[in-house]
Amino acid sequence: MMSSLWVSKTGLSAQDTALHTISNNLANVSTVGFKRDRAVFNDLLYQIQQQPGGQSSQDTTLPSGLQLGTGVRVAGTQKMFSEGSLQTTEAPLDLAIDGRGFFQIITPDGNTAYTRDGQFHLDQDGQLVNSQGYALEPSITVPADADSVTIGADGIVSAMTRGSATATQLGTIELVSFVNPAGLQAAGNNLFWETPSSGSPQSGTPGQDGLGMVLQGMLENSNVSVVEELVNMVSVQRAYEMNSRVVSTSDQMLQYLTQNL
C-alpha cells in the first residue's frame, strides 16, 4: 500500500501529541508553580531505496540515491523551567522562590517530592503543610499561641507570641536545586520526583549557593504564556489539516486506481 499513508499517519499522531501538551499548558494557565511543557519532534529513520553512488551499469554510477523518510515521532516533552511572574497575596503562609530551587515535601509514602508551589497551610498540629496536607521538609510547627509568623528571605521562620517581646525561631526552610531540573518527573499535584536524569538534590539555604530567595506573601504564577500557546495551537492545527489532506489524497489515488483498472 502507499507508504505516504503511514508517513502522514505519524504526522497526525505527532500533531495530536503536540495539541495535548498545548491544551494541558492552557488548562494550567493559573496553576501556581506550574511549568509549561514543550513537545520535541524528531524525524524517524530513513529507508534507503537506492544507494547514492551505486552502480547503474558497469561503467556508470547513480548520481543521487533515493532515501524515503518514514515520518516523525515525538522525542519527548521538555519542561520549561523559566520563572513565572510573582503575585502578591499578603497571606503569611504563601511563599514564592525568586530564582532557582524547590521546596521539599514529604509524601504519605515517606518519599520526598519537590515543588515550586508555595501555598502552605497549617494542619491541626500547627505543622506547615501544602494544599494536599503533605508536610514541608524540614518540618516546621507553629505554636498555637503564635500571633504572627514571619518567614525571612533566607528561609528562617519565626513567630511572635503574646506577652513576649522577642520572636521565637521555629526553624529554617531549606531549598534544593538540581543540575538538570528539566529531567524531573512531573507527578501531578504540582509535585516533581527526582529521576536519574535530573541528578541528585543539592540542599542549601535560600539566597546562598545560587538558590533563590524565599518571598513571604507572594506566589509564583504558572509560566504559561497564553499568546504563545494559542499561536502554537494554530500552527499545530494547520499542520494536522495538511497531514490529513495527504491521507485523503493518497486515498483518492488508490480509489482512482481500483476504479479504473
Binding site: V7, S64, S200
Partner: protein, 246 residues
C-alpha cells in the same frame, strides 16, 4: 502494448515514492531544525536494439533543501539556532560525528550538554561538560559563558565554544537517522563564520504550500498514468476484437 503498460507503471510507482517524500516533509512540519527533502524523477532509457523507445521513470532524492527555516523565539538559555548557513556538531554513540540544525539542547545529570535526541553536543575540545551554574549564556560565535553556582556576577567563566561547521554545497548528505554526515567521511573543520542566536529555535524549513501543491500535482499525474494503463488495456481489447474469429 507491454511498453505502454510497463512504462506507465514505472511512472505510477515513481509518483508513489515522490508522494512519500512530500508526506514525510509535511509530517515533519513541526520538527525543529528539519531540512526538507527534495524529490525528482529521471528518465532512464533501456539500452539495446529495439528497446530505445522505452524510457522508464526513476525516482530520486537528490538532496535536502538547505534554506533557513523561520526562527522562533523561546527565551530559553539552551535553545540555540544557527543563523544562515552552518551546522552544530554532535557525537553519536559510536564516537563518530554528525551535524544537525536542531538546537534544543539539554543538560543531563552529569552536566553534559546534549541535543533533543540525546547525543552529546560537541565543543572545540569534544563533548561539552558544564559545571553547576546559575546563569548560562551562549554568544553569537557559540562561546558558552556561565556564572558558576554560588558566585557573583563578576565570576563569569567561559567554558567552551560550540563546534560549528560550514559545509560547502554537496559536502554533507542526510543519513538514515536524519542527521547530516560528510559525504567523503572526513570530519569538517570548525568554521568561525557561522553565527548562532541563543533563545531561539529554528523550526522546520518545509514550505507547506509547496508540499501541498506538489502532492496535488502528483495525484493528478498518477491519474494520468492510470489512464494510460487503461488505454493500454483498451488497445489490447481492440486488437483482440480484430483478430477474433466469430
Amino acid at each position: 502494448m507491454d511498453r505502454l503498460l510497463y512504462i506507465a507503471m514505472t511512472g505510477a510507482a515513481h509518483i508513489d515514492r515522490a508522494q512519500t517524500v512530500h508526506a514525510n516533509n509535511l509530517a515533519n512540519l513541526g520538527t525543529s531544525g528539519f531540512r526538507a527533502d527534495l524529490a525528482q524523477a529521471r528518465a532512464v532509457q533501456v539500452n539495446g536494439d529495439g528497446y530505445e523507445t522505452r524510457v522508464f521513470a526513476l525516482a530520486e532524492q537528490p538532496a535536502s533543501d538547505f534554506r533557513q527555516g523561520p526562527l522562533m523565539e523561546t527565551g530559553r538559555d539552551l535553545d540555540v539556532a544557527v543563523s544562515g548557513q552552518g551546522f552544530f556538531a554532535v557525537q553519536l554513540p559510536d564516537g563518530s560525528e554528525a551535524y544537525t540544525r536542531a538546537g534544543e539542547f539539554v543538560v543531563d545529570a552529569l552536566g553534559t550538554l546534549r541535543n533533543g535526541a540525546g547525543y552529546a553536543v560537541l565543543g572545540d575540545g569534544g563533548p561539552i561538560s558544564l559545571p553547576p551554574y546559575e546563569r548560562l549564556q551562549i554568544g553569537g560565535d557559540g562561546s558558552i559563558t556561565i556564572q558558576p553556582e554560588g558566585q557573583g556576577e563578576q565570576a563569569l567563566v567561559q567554558i567552551d565554544r560550540l563546534r560549528l561547521v560550514k559545509p560547502e554545497q554537496g559536502e554533507v548528505a542526510k543519513g538514515p537517522d536524519g542527521l547530516f554526515r560528510p559525504i567523503d567521511d572526513v570530519a569538517l573543520a570548525s568554521s568561525a563564520e557561522v553565527a548562532v542566536v541563543a533563545g531561539f529555535v529554528e523550526s522546520s524549513n518545509v514550505n507547506a504550500i509547496h508540499e501541498m501543491t506538489a502532492i496535488l500535482e502528483l495525484s493528478r499525474q498518477f491519474e494520468l498514468e492510470v489512464r494510460l494503463m487503461k488505454a493500454a488495456e483498451q488497445n489490447d481489447e481492440a486488437a483482440q476484437e480484430l483478430v477474433s474469429v466469430n
